[in-house]
Assembly symmetry: C2
Homo-oligomer: 243 residues x 2
DNA sequence: CGACCGTTTGAGTGCGGTCAAAAGAAGTGG
DNA sequence: CCACTTCTTTTGACCGCACTCAAACGGTCG
C-alpha cells in the first residue's frame, strides 16, 4: 500500500500525525481499477461503498426526468467520492470515470470506526465539506447569473486550478478529456452552444485548443470575463487543532 | 438559556447524550436579535463569527461583478450559518434576515473546543454537511437544467418541506416572506419572469396566493412538473454511532 | 475502409430578459 | 389618522441569448 492521496492533500493544510495518516491509508488500501467510461456508482441504487480517487478523472451527475443530465462536480486525485450515500440509503448522484482511474474503496462501518478512533478527523472532514460548499456556491452563482461564455470560462479556470494543486509544474496548459457535451452538462448549456463559446474564447485570444490540449493564453482576462475566483488559494484550516 | 435548536433538530436523527446537548446549548447561549432586512454578515469581510438560527428566516447570497445577486440558500431555525468563514478568512457569502430573527453567536475557538471535547459531534457535523450538499445538488440541477416554472415550483416545495420539519402541523400553506425579486435571485430568474410563472402556477390550479400566504393546491402535480425530490424525508445518520 | 463519435457550422425558434409604466401595498413622518 | 414616499406586484411590447434541428466534417477504432 502506497501513501494516502487524501492524506497528502490534507497534510498541506494541517499537520497530521502518524496514526491519522495510517488511518487514512486504510481507507485507500482496497484499490480498484476503473475503465474509462464505466459507471462507478449508479443513481438511486442502494450502496454502502465510498471511494477516494487516486488516479484519473471522475465526475458525478444526475439524470432529470426529461432525460437531461446535470454534471455536479469534477473529481481529481485525493477527493472523496460517493458521499451522497453517507446520509441517504440511495445516492442521488452517479459517478462515471472520464479517464482510466484508480480508487480506494471503503464502506460506512470502516469510516465510522476511523472517525471514532481519530477525533480530529471528523472535524477536519467537516471543514473540508464546508470548503467544497463554498466552491459549489460559486458554481451555483455562475450557472444562475452569468452568461454562457463566462460559465465555460469559469469551468476551464477551475479545472486548471484543481490540476495545479496536484501538480505545481502545470502552468497554463492541460489535457481536457471532457467532450463539449460534458462541458455543457456541467454548466447548464447545450453542446452546440458550448462549441460556439469555445470558438469565441479562442477567437478572443483567451484560450488555444489543439487536440484535447487546452492552453489558457490570457488568464487574467479570462478570470475577469468569467467572474472567476480561485477559492482554493485561500483555504485555511489551521485554527482547528494544534495537535 | 433555553434548549438548543440545533440539538432538537439533530436529536431527531441520532440520539445525543446530555453532555453533547449541553455543548450545543453553549453554541447558542450568546443570543442576538436581528432586525428584518439587516445584514448579519457581509461578503469579503473578515469575520470569526458563526451563528445558529433560532427564530426567523435568513438567506445567504453573493453579489457578482455586474451587480446581480445570487441567493444561495434559505435558512430556518436550527440551521448553522456563516460556515463559509470556517475555511476562509473572508466569507464568500453575505447573510441577511428576511424576517426579525434571533441567532446564537459563537466563534471558531469555541467551536474547536467543543469539537475536541465531544468526538461524536465532528463526524455528525460532517454528515450534516453532506446532507446539505445533496440538497444543493438538486438545486444546481434545477437551475442548470429545468424550466423557469419548474424552478419556482421546486423552490416553493422545498420551503414547504423545510417548514414542515419544524412544525408538523403545517399542511399545505405557509407565509412566504420573500419578494418575487428574491425568489428570482434564488433560482436564477428575473423578478418579472417570476411573476409570470407564479401567475401561471396559480392559473394551472397548482398554487393559490393571498397576501403573502401561499397555498399549495395540488402538491403531487406540482412535484411532478417541478422535478422535485424531498431529500429530507430519507435522511439517515443512525449508522454513525451507537453511543 | 466503414462505422461511430465528437466537433463545427448554419438557419430558424422560443424562453426568459429588458424596458417601461401603472396599480397596489406598506412604511414613515407630521 | 392622513399624506407622502417607497417598495412590490402586475402587465405589455419588444429583444436577444441560448436552444433546436439539421447537415457536413474530422478523427479514431475495430
Amino acid at each position: 500500500v502506497t501513501d494516502s492521496f487524501l492524506a497528502k492533500w490534507l497534510d498541506q493544510k494541517i499537520t497530521l500525525n502518524a496514526s491519522e495518516k495510517a488511518a487514512l491509508r486504510k481507507l485507500e488500501s482496497n484499490q480498484r481499477r476503473i475503465r474509462r467510461g464505466s459507471l462507478l456508482l449508479r443513481e438511486n441504487e442502494p450502496t454502502g461503498e465510498l471511494y477516494i480517487l487516486r488516479e484519473g478523472w471522475v465526475f458525478s451527475f444526475m439524470i432529470l426526468h426529461d432525460g437531461s443530465r446535470q454534471i455536479l462536480r469534477q473529481y481529481f486525485p485525493g477527493d472523496m467520492l460517493g458521499l451522497g450515500g453517507l446520509t441517504f440509503a440511495e445516492s442521488n448522484e452517479s459517478l462515471i470515470a472520464v479517464t482510466d482511474s484508480v480508487v480506494g474503496v471503503f464502506d460506512k462501518p470502516l469510516l465510522a470506526n476511523i472517525l471514532a478512533e481519530h477525533p480530529r478527523l471528523g472535524p477536519l472532514f467537516f471543514l473540508l465539506a464546508q470548503a467544497e460548499r463554498a466552491i459549489a456556491n460559486d458554481r451555483l452563482a455562475a450557472i444562475g447569473r452569468t452568461t454562457a461564455k463566462a460559465r465555460v470560462g469559469a469551468l476551464l479556470l477551475n479545472m486548471l486550478d484543481r490540476l495545479r494543486m496536484l501538480d505545481p509544474t502545470i502552468s497554463n496548459s492541460f489535457s481536457l478529456p471532457l467532450t463539449q457535451e460534458e462541458i455543457g452538462d456541467s454548466v447548464g448549456l447545450t453542446a452546440v452552444h458550448v462549441n460556439r463559446m469555445m470558438r469565441a474564447l479562442d477567437e478572443d485570444g483567451l484560450i488555444k485548443r489543439s487536440g484535447n490540449m487546452l492552453h489558457i493564453r490570457d488568464e487574467a482576462r479570462l478570470i475577469r470575463i468569467s467572474n472567476y475566483v480561485n477559492r482554493l488559494a485561500a483555504l485555511d484550516m489551521g485554527w482547528l487543532a494544534k495537535g
